[in-house]
């Protein structure tokens, strides 16, 4: 091992490993320091394993439609939870070793250990690494990328050291399916687990502080999602905050305040999904000018912190806390460090967000309300899946594509979708936003028929009163 690097990356998640590979591609001598598993939370305890679980949900929902399609199956459907979890873990493990292979292929050195900044001198950053043998190693680098990720945010003043109170990690490795589960928080993580456990047969109640669920989504989509979830059996408590939680051996009772009322909510398990907080401790930030605000590192648009040559990317920085944002920021930081021309700034308005519940929800850009609040003159297009041939043929009529345009410039300022495969479809609007197309460029694009994507075309036409199929 060298003791001098062009770039050291703390953390091997989707931000860290991508930036390390990009840095190496650009000729930098890169060392990646990871304390746990390569792939980070996303690959091991987040995005990926939950998608394996939600595929089970999807199968189950498909099976329930078999009769409509003329397929008869006999016997009762049952789940082998240990098999389900086992498969989900294998998926993570496979992909994690894939990351290890990619790093090796790209000549990134990887060390298992915990890195911290020891001191800054001249143009060097001295790093201490506590390796897996519990020994300290000292190395130097010219540039550092902090990609240390995040951990679940916990409720203040509530003791959570109890096996009936879960964070997302426990929720994706249950020993059995609980008869009932309360989920605190109705963001993407909360709603994905609500959807999964509801499909697995648990009685699910979601507690949300705001007056609507999925508070980051467009209000119209939130309402539509809520009514679909309710139809599927999920209960919601909105405008509700958890005051205290009482544990007992077999269940958990939450005391919840809704307005002036206090209600007790009893369930076998309670999942806390109220957000995340950045991993900023013990990495030596005290020895630098790096600024931390509300548990997250402050950076400029090129991901550089207040300390020159120290960058931060992904969950440890500001929201949205999404794996693809982390990866993209990793690319920006690595290119900036390598001194590339035309490094683009991060623009959170162009980052899509996805929720893989049933139904799926996906969006990019401003919601209708936010656009109006900003004083923009807008045109709104709506197209329901009911008017899309492919969706009807698939038995997926429940869905909506909503688009928001700046009336004056024709800029696509937001797109919001609910329904089958929308988490795949959203990327089309991401490309449109990245290229800065106007409505006319999308209108003039030929969409293949029959596809769900046609709904994206029709929504744009609808914004200009030109929809054909609705």
């Amino acid at each position: 091992m060298n003791d001098n690097y062009d770039l050291i990356v703390f953390g091997g998640g989707p931000g860290g490993y991508v930036s390390a590979i990009r840095g190496s591609q650009l000729g930098l001598n890169v060392l990646l320091v990871e304390a746990n598993e390569l792939g980070g939370v996303c690959l091991n305890w987040g995005c990926i394993p939950t998608k394996a679980l939600l595929k089970v949900s999807e199968f189950k929902n498909n099976i329930s439609k078999f009769k409509d399609f003329g397929i008869n199956i006999e016997g009762k459907i049952s789940f082998d939870i240990s098999e389900i979890i086992q498969r989900s873990r294998v998926v993570s493990k496979t992909l994690s070793s894939g990351v290890s292979h990619l790093l090796k292929k790209n000549k990134v050195q990887v060390i298992k250990g915990f890195g911290s900044i020891n001191k800054l001198y001249d143009k060097n950053i001295e790093i201490n690494i506590l390796n897996s043998k519990n020994k300290y190693i000292t190395v130097n680098t010219n540039n550092l990328i902090l990609a240390t990720g995040s951990k679940p945010k916990l409720l203040p003043n509530i003791d959570l050291v109890h096996e009936n109170i879960w964070t997302s990690k426990e929720a994706m490795t249950p020993k059995s399916i609980p008869k009932s589960i309360s989920i605190v928080g109705s963001g993407a993580i909360g709603m994905e687990f609500a959807s999964f456990y509801n499909d697995m047969g648990s009685k699910v109640t979601v507690v949300e502080l705001e007056n609507r669920i999925l508070p980051n989504e467009d209000e119209e989509i939130s309402e539509m999602a809520k009514s679909i979830f309710i139809k599927r059996g999920i209960k919601f408590l909105n405008n509700a905050s958890v005051v205290s939680i009482n544990n007992s051996e077999n269940d958990v009772t939450s005391n919840i305040k809704i307005g002036n009322q206090e209600v007790k909510l009893k369930s076998e398990k309670t999942l806390i999904a109220i957000g995340i907080t950045g991993n900023t401790e013990n990495i030596g930030l005290d020895n630098t000018n790096v600024e931390v605000e509300n548990g997250h590192i402050v950076t400029d648009e090129y991901m550089e912190t207040k300390e020159k040559n120290i960058y931060a990317i992904g969950d440890v920085t500001s929201s949205p806390w999404l794996a693809h944002k982390a990866s993209h920021e990793g690319i920006i930081a690595a290119e900036k460090i390598a001194g590339l021309d035309y490094v683009h700034k991060i623009n959170v308005g162009k980052i899509p967000g996805c929720t893989y519940s049933y139904p799926q929800i996906a969006s990019i850009g401003l919601t209708e309300k936010k656009a109006i609040d900003q004083g923009l003159k807008i045109k709104v297009g709506r197209f329901p899946f009911l008017g899309n041939g492919k969706a009807v043929a698939m038995g997926e009529e429940e869905g909506l594509v909503k688009t928001i345009f700046n009336e004056v410039s024709g800029e696509l300022i937001g797109a919001h979708m609910i329904g089958s495969e929308v988490t795949e479809l959203i990327n089309l609007y991401s490309v449109a936003k990245s290229l800065e197309t106007t409505e006319i460029d999308i209108m003039n694009t030929v969409f293949a028929h029959p596809t769900l994507s046609e709904a994206l075309h029709e929504s744009v036409l609808s914004a200009y009163n030109r929809a054909i199929h609705f």
Binding site: Y342, L376, K377, N406, E407, T438
Partner: protein
Amino acid sequence: MPVLINMPSLSPTMKEGKLAKWLKNLGDKITSGDVIAEIETDKATMEIESSDNGVLFEIIVQEGEENVSVNSPIAIIKEDGDTEEELNTFSESSGIKKAKTISSDSDGKFDKRDENQDNETQTKVVTKSNNIDNYSRVIASPLAKRLAEQNNIDLSKIIGSGPKGRIVKDDLKLENLSEGNIVKESSLSGTSNSDAKFNDVPNTNMRKTIAQRLTTSLQETPHFFLTVDCDISKLNEVRKIINDKNNLKISVNDFVIKASSKALKIVPKANCSWNDSFIRYYQNYDIAVAVAIDDGLITPIIKNVEIKGLEELSSEVKDLAIRAKANKLSPEEYQGGNFTISNLGMFGVKNFTAVINPPQSMILAVGMAEKRPIIVNEEVIISEIMTVTLSCDHRVVDGALGAKWLKVFKSLIENPSLMLL
């Protein structure tokens, strides 16, 4: 068969250039060797010669257009016997190719044989179109184009921040987004406002290069400055003899160039440049001389000064300066050099400090020669004095080393016969 003229690559680093001027008009007869246009790169203006005979049939890239990629087509020459149809189809298809060069990767190499095939397959007469809108030759997103149109912004005056310099919405710096992008007034370069007490002139490539290089130099190079007075009385005597006897016009500056190279040879440790992992010591003595030109400056290089006599040196400096002022230097004539001399004596400047031209480690700022009272052997006498200030890069040239070089330089200037050694 029509001939396509492409943007030439005028230096190894050139990726794009500005079409500074067309020297031929549409319909002009062109003979092989004729200069047809001037191209401005980041450093110099150069001429394009035609290697074909014919008539200038179409100008694809207009005068003044910037950021034209190397190898993208700029004009079409009609050769004897080219039919109207051939030309029109050729012109049409070159337009298509051009669009590709701008929007796609740099693989815009133009294959004439492909064009011929196109000529054969396409027989319809296409009328030549000149009425393409203003933005068709600017790389900009659809949204940026529309916003520019709505707000009367000239996109050709805007520098794009997107991939390959593509202009995106942010580059327009539109304000008042809260009013639905109805922009009352834009604060862009190039747009004029009747109340404004200023005039924004877009930067030339040379201006941008000077700004970038000198900013980097002052930020990254630890400068320090050493000043000495040189008595040039003897030098002027020698100069007068040489000039009178040979009917020459050797200048004081020519002696300064000669003395600088000699001093570098005597103090070889100062002839070097800093790199992060090593120091490079030079074994040649190439001296750059700063020349003021319209809108900027350039530093032509006099190579191997140590083996050149004053007469040769002097005529070379004159030639380089004349061609520099006319923007006619080729890249190898201004790239490189171990040491730079900047002389503002002719403007009456007594003393100044100069910014080092990286990767060089020293620059000599030469002031005006003037008669001053000096004290020699306890007596005040009048002598001709020239003050020079040496800027040194402290990473490689420490105070003592810089002082040593300057001492050698001073003794050479004050005793020009030592230069004969």
